[in-house]
């Protein structure tokens, strides 16, 4: 019964999404107020239906209902309860349902948030979200229904992919998707503005908190994915430039450009059409990401749910959504002329360069991700693009970006009098260089040519970001959340840059064959292998090694890396053991039984690698602080008439 109820709720949700889209767009366009008023009930109804559907699927997973094909393929009666719940989004169909459900959550939040905005505009925003939701629901019901029955029912399920049986999986996809889907809100705001043919600074103020919130979720989602890959998948790597990783990173880069461009539109009424274009681009890349991940067109560690026929539908949907939005843009953008000008040394210039560099970075990542696909379809040979391409091209835009940030953060709006801040810039730079040199040559020694440069840039960002808040506190000025949030996010970025530098420069890695009682040295650490023992878990068995870690002879820890074999899929997973010591991660992973009593073991020492994820979380925290600034809440209480142009408050 439950699966049928869930299926039926999905169909109702699709109909309500269609109504929401139709009333939201046609109502304001034709001036029919009763249509416009019907949008909010449709949103509420759709949400209830989606929630019912999700609840039915989870309940069926918990019940071990293997008469449902999706559950038979992705669960098992021996699977612990926690993973039976998270298995709901363990494969294609369920994760799509999660995607749509999260869109429903965003839509409800937006419906509450825009209730104080002009009614036509609010209806248009919700209407566009309805169209997006309708498209995805249609896709799901047509090609990837998770509620399809299996006749006769399977005696037991084929189990959840063992590499997904991990606590981080429980939170990584929902948070990542919340970020992905959140850009649909910025997209909807942009489309609504274009449908109205009017866009002002108030529009930017309405849009900013939503976009920043989506960006923060996406940051956390990507960081969690990277962390999960680090300890579960990747044998100690944190980023592989894998197509699926790139798919989430491209919207992040464009989204970062968007939140900066929105700041200019908000404060100065500039970059209007550019902001609209970025809103469309960010969401398009989210859709492209879904397409890349879900169609299996690219070789990827994540493509365990590959199916090219589904790709065609997504491609058509992508063309309709993006093509439609871009057509609207071409029609409406010429109306949006920005009046004001700015100096070369003004904050606007720096934010312009920030945007250009971020978009270049996104374009190089896009090029590298799509090149294998294009080459293959044109019969130019099967090629692969990896780290040797991505690392240098990405740094090419990131190094100037980070340097410009530390200078531009002191610039004022409109007037380019950077000379006022020359002293601050020079002092912060000197401190940064000194710290970086001590770190690179004193603490870790050696490194590559770029190590001191990149370390300087990282430290410089951290110091420069703190100057303004500290100055405000000393002068007892107000310290609004937007300022604090910006400083926090930039400190997070600085930590991230610093961490990537130390990890890329000073990581030590060795694969060694060790017999019982044998010892090896990696960097300052000694590792003594004490042999392996058999272990048995809830739905797997395996072996557990024992390795004694010492540093210059002083005991640090005893670690137990595991090698598991899951019963149902007979798949082997490696559970590395990771210990933090003096800021470095000491990573030990058990390899294969080499015979003659020896095992292969991988050892890695990665300095400050935890700062990488911590930096990303702090960036997201900054976003969360900034998104809850009072001025956005104030803005919502102001209904028409719209504030006069140039009504820019300090802060």
């Amino acid at each position: 019964m439950l699966p049928e109820l869930g299926h039926f709720a999905l169909i109702l949700a699709m109909l309500l999404a269609a109504l929401q889209g139709f009333f939201g767009i046609a109502g304001p366009a034709l001036g029919r107020d009763r249509w416009t008023a019907a949008v909010t009930p449709a949103v509420a109804g759709q949400f209830v239906m989606l929630a019912t559907s999700v609840a039915c699927l989870i309940a069926s997973f918990v019940d071990n209902d293997f008469s449902v094909l999706y559950i038979a393929e992705n669960s098992n009666s021996a699977l612990p309860l926690f993973y039976r719940v998270t298995a709901m989004w363990g494969a294609h169909e369920g994760s799509l349902l999660l995607w749509i459900f999260l869109l429903g959550c965003w839509t409800v939040a937006v419906a509450i948030g825009v209730s104080k905005l002009p009614r036509r505009f609010a209806a248009r925003v919700l209407g566009v979200l309805g169209v997006v939701s309708f498209g995805f629901l249609l896709f799901m019901l047509a090609t990837s229904n998770p509620f399809l029955r299996l006749d006769p029912p399977a005696p037991d399920g084929r189990d959840l992919n063992p590499i997904l049986q991990d606590p981080a999986l429980a939170i990584h996809p929902p948070i990542l998707y919340t970020g992905y889907v959140g850009f649909a809100v910025a997209f909807a705001f942009a489309c609504a503005a274009m449908l109205e043919g009017r866009m002002d600074q108030m529009w930017a103020r309405w849009t900013r908190p939503w976009t920043t919130a989506a960006w923060a979720f996406l940051s956390v989602g990507i960081a969690l994915g990277s962390w999960w890959a680090y300890y579960e998948l990747g044998w100690g790597g944190y980023w592989f430039w894998d197509p699926v990783e790139n798919a989430s990173f491209m919207p992040w880069l464009v989204g970062t450009a968007l939140i900066h461009s929105l700041a200019v539109t908000d404060k100065r009424g500039l970059f209007k059409s550019w902001t609209l274009l970025l809103s469309i681009l960010a969401f398009s890349l989210s859709l492209l990401g879904t397409f890349l991940v879900r169609s299996g067109v690219l070789v990827s560690v994540h493509s365990f749910a590959a199916d090219p026929t589904k790709g065609i539908f997504i491609l058509v949907f992508l063309c309709v959504m993006i093509g439609g939005a871009l057509t609207l843009y071409a029609w409406r953008a010429p109306l949006l002329k920005s009046q004001a000008g700015f100096d070369l040394g003004a904050r606007e210039s720096f934010l312009l360069f920030n945007n250009i560099l971020l978009v270049i970075a996104a374009a190089t990542v896009l090029g590298g991700t799509l090149a294998p696909l294009i080459s293959d379809s044109l019969n130019l040979g099967t090629l692969s693009v990896g780290t040797p391409y991505f690392n240098p091209t990405f740094m090419l835009s990131m190094l100037p970006l980070t340097a410009l940030l530390s200078v531009g953060i002191h610039a004022n709006w409109k007037r380019g009098r950077l000379s006022d801040s020359t002293r601050t810039i020079l002092i912060t730079l000197t401190i940064a260089v000194t710290t970086a040199v001590i770190l690179v040559y004193g603490v870790y020694s050696n490194g590559k040519v770029l190590s001191p440069v990149a370390a300087t840039l990282g430290v410089w960002i951290i110091i420069s970001s703190l100057i303004d808040p500290i100055d405000r506190m000393r002068r007892k000025l107000s310290l609004p959340r937007s300022v604090v949030g910006m400083a926090v996010a930039h400190v997070g970025l600085g930590m991230f840059v610093l961490s990537v530098t130390t990890v890329e420069s000073f990581t030590l890695e060795r694969d060694v064959a060790l017999g019982v009682g044998q010892q090896t040295t990696v960097g300052n650490y000694e590792f003594r292998f004490q042999g392996v023992e058999a272990i048995e878990g809830a739905n797997y068995n395996g072996v557990e090694g024992t390795v004694v870690v010492t540093r210059h002879g002083f005991p640090i820890s005893v670690v137990h890396p595991q090698k598991r074999q899951y019963w149902v899929q007979r798949q082997v997973t490696t559970e590395a053991s990771i210990e933090m010591h003096h800021g470095s991660n000491v990573f030990v992973a058990l390899g294969d039984d080499l015979g003659a009593g020896k095992w292969s073991v991988r050892f890695q020492i990665r300095p400050l690698v935890n700062f990488l994820w911590l930096g990303a979380f702090i960036m997201a925290l900054g976003g969360a602080i900034a998104a809850t600034d009072k001025r956005y809440r104030m803005a919502k209480e102001v209904t028409a008439p719209v504030a006069a142009p140039g009504g820019v408050t300090a802060g």
């Binding site: 270049i360 040797p388 240098p392």
Partner: protein
């Protein structure tokens, strides 16, 4: 400078910057892209001397050998028509198995492929698309004769 001159300078600077970035990216792309070849393409001499490439195919059953206690492992990669012996020193991925698809990065040294990275990042149902394509192609060609290694 007049505002107009200033704006032109800005625009010129941006265009120049974007072009330089584009040129450098293209250059990095040309130098760092790796091509995929199957054993038949390697046997036919399509690989340039010393070129780094990705070799893909199926690990021939019964071909995985290692000296006890050594990190060095030998195996044979087949596309059901031709075979290439592979040497690799290090820890093999969890999903590496005989009779399964594999992709290795490395160079030819004589008649042996010396791998510096071995990838088998897929589950049991899944085969890397390029490997699946290559196997399908050669399976068709050798349909009459029993496929080597596919016993």
């Amino acid at each position: 400078m007049t505002p107009r001159r200033k704006r032109m300078t800005l625009v010129f600077g941006i265009v120049a910057g974007v072009s330089v970035a584009g040129a450098l990216a293209l250059n990095a792309f040309r130098q760092n892209v790796t091509f995929f070849f199957d054993p038949t393409a390697v046997t036919a001499g399509q690989v340039k001397d010393g070129q780094r490439f990705r070799l893909g195919g199926m690990v021939t059953k019964g071909s995985v050998k290692r000296d006890p206690g050594s990190l060095e492992v030998h195996f044979v990669v087949t596309d059901l028509k031709n075979e290439i012996p592979v040497t690799y020193t290090g820890v093999l991925p969890d999903l590496f198995r005989e009779g399964q698809g594999v992709v290795a990065h490395g160079r030819m040294s004589g008649n042996t492929f010396v791998a510096d990275e071995v990838l088998a990042k897929h589950d049991e149902k899944y085969m890397p698309p390029e490997v699946a394509k290559s196997l399908k192609k050669h399976q068709g060609e050798t349909a009459a004769a029993p496929a080597p290694g596919a016993t």
